[in-house]
């Protein structure tokens, strides 16, 4: 099977056609194309069926999509019955979504961002930002390469390959780090912004923060932090206009 590197590159755009019907489906079909090329000469009928399957509904975290892509491509070459491959794709959506989201969106990303925010405030500047981009993308690229390789090696046994891999352990490890760095950043950021305004200004901003935490928690998703901010600014402008 050739085209692994092209498939890996195309995985960077796996969400390029994200939509509410097939979600990542078409992007997966686009990434699968180089992997399925050899099948065209071996079994053209099977190749056509494989292309159709590759672009059907699919959703997971984009950084772990290589596992599903590799596993289904290998299954196509091993002539596994089509319905079985479709079931594998469906079965992989939830675990790859949950693991990937916990590892990247709820773990690695806030961990690194908490660190870069703290470092920026402490004078890290461009070095902090460059360090964040390098660290995140090295981790992401390494995960992408591992995902595709593991999927291609495991085929239909990809489920057990995932559960015995480093991913669940990394999720457990990165979550406390994210908690720590974000916690660390909060007082540093508050001081960075508020020291220019003196005690009265700082107390005012902290009162807005406390109100914001309380009311966004109370009203839930209907009052997001963005809506709260815009509402608070509109209120301030109204009070100033009224001469208060």
């Amino acid at each position: 099977m050739t085209g692994r590197w092209r498939a890996l590159l195309r995985l960077f755009a796996v969400q390029g056609t994200w939509n509410y019907e097939r979600m990542l489906g078409v992007g997966m079909g686009y990434a699968a194309e180089p992997l399925l090329e050899d099948l065209k000469t071996v079994d053209p009928v099977r190749h056509g069926e494989a292309v159709v399957r590759s672009s059907e509904f699919f959703n997971c975290n984009p950084n772990l999509a290589g596992l599903a892509l590799g596993a289904t491509a290998r299954a196509e070459y091993e002539a596994v019955p089509g319905p079985q491959i479709a079931r594998l794709r469906t079965a992989l959506c939830s675990p790859l979504g949950a693991l990937g989201d916990q590892l990247f969106w709820a773990g690695l990303l806030p961990a690194l961002l908490g660190a870069v925010l703290a470092a920026t405030v402490l004078g890290g500047g461009w070095w902090a930002i460059a360090g964040f981009l390098i660290a995140y993308n090295v981790a992401r690229l390494a995960t992408g390469i591992w995902s595709l390789r593991t999927g291609l090696e495991a085929g239909m046994r990809v489920g057990s390959a995932i559960s015995s891999s480093w991913v669940p352990r990394a999720v457990a490890w990165v979550s406390p780090v994210a908690g720590f760095t974000v916690g660390l950043a909060i007082p540093l950021l508050a001081a960075w912004y508020l020291k220019a305004f003196g005690a009265v200004g700082a107390v005012g901003a902290l009162a807005v923060a406390a109100t914001g935490v309380a009311v966004t928690r109370w009203f839930g998703p209907s009052l997001t932090s963005v809506r709260f901010a815009l509402l608070a600014m509109a209120l301030l402008l109204f009070f100033r206009w009224a001469g208060l």
């Binding site: 159709v52 916690g183 005012g204």
Partner: protein
Amino acid sequence: MSELPLYATLLLIVWGTAVALDLVSVPQVMIARPVVAGAVAGLLTGDVEAGLRVGVLFELFALDVLPIGAVRYPDYGPATVAATALASGAPWELGLGISAALGLLLAALGGWSLMMVRRSNARAIQRHAAALAAGESRAIRRLQYGGLLRDAARGAALTVLGLVLAWSIAQFVHFDRRTAVGLTLVAIGSALAAIIGGAVRSAGRGTRLKWMVAGLVVGILLVVLR
């Protein structure tokens, strides 16, 4: 807002488009994160301090949201670029509030436009349903490139709109010092509320919460000792 030469304006539009694409479509290397988008936009406008102040502020809002599955979230990339353009050249204590207001509106609009692009992608897929059912790779490629183009157009339009609004605000909206400072303080307070709310929600009641509290304590100690 500083007077921007034409090349800087064009570079800001290119940068705004790139960060909008990076949010979801391609390549997700995290240049869309406000802290990165703001710092580079600050470099392009000649005021890195403004870029960092705006970028870090929006990062606090962005950390409140987990971009999971089909969840709707604001697009802070082009919003950060436009807000940085507005904030540049003025003391940040006075310019951050109104820039944040512009940026938050644009971010919300960006989130809505992302939804429109996703619906447009779905319509394009429906138009190519027969070709997809026949296993035509060419149809998949066409859909993919079309999706990327739509998202790029969305990012460019948002950035241009943001820069036009920034220019208009700089020309026609003038606040007294107390109002400008008040807006900045409200923006900072709201951003702190966003990151604290998000952090507490993510932490739950397990190990992460303990580590978050430990981080808070170390952070407070650093503030006191500095």
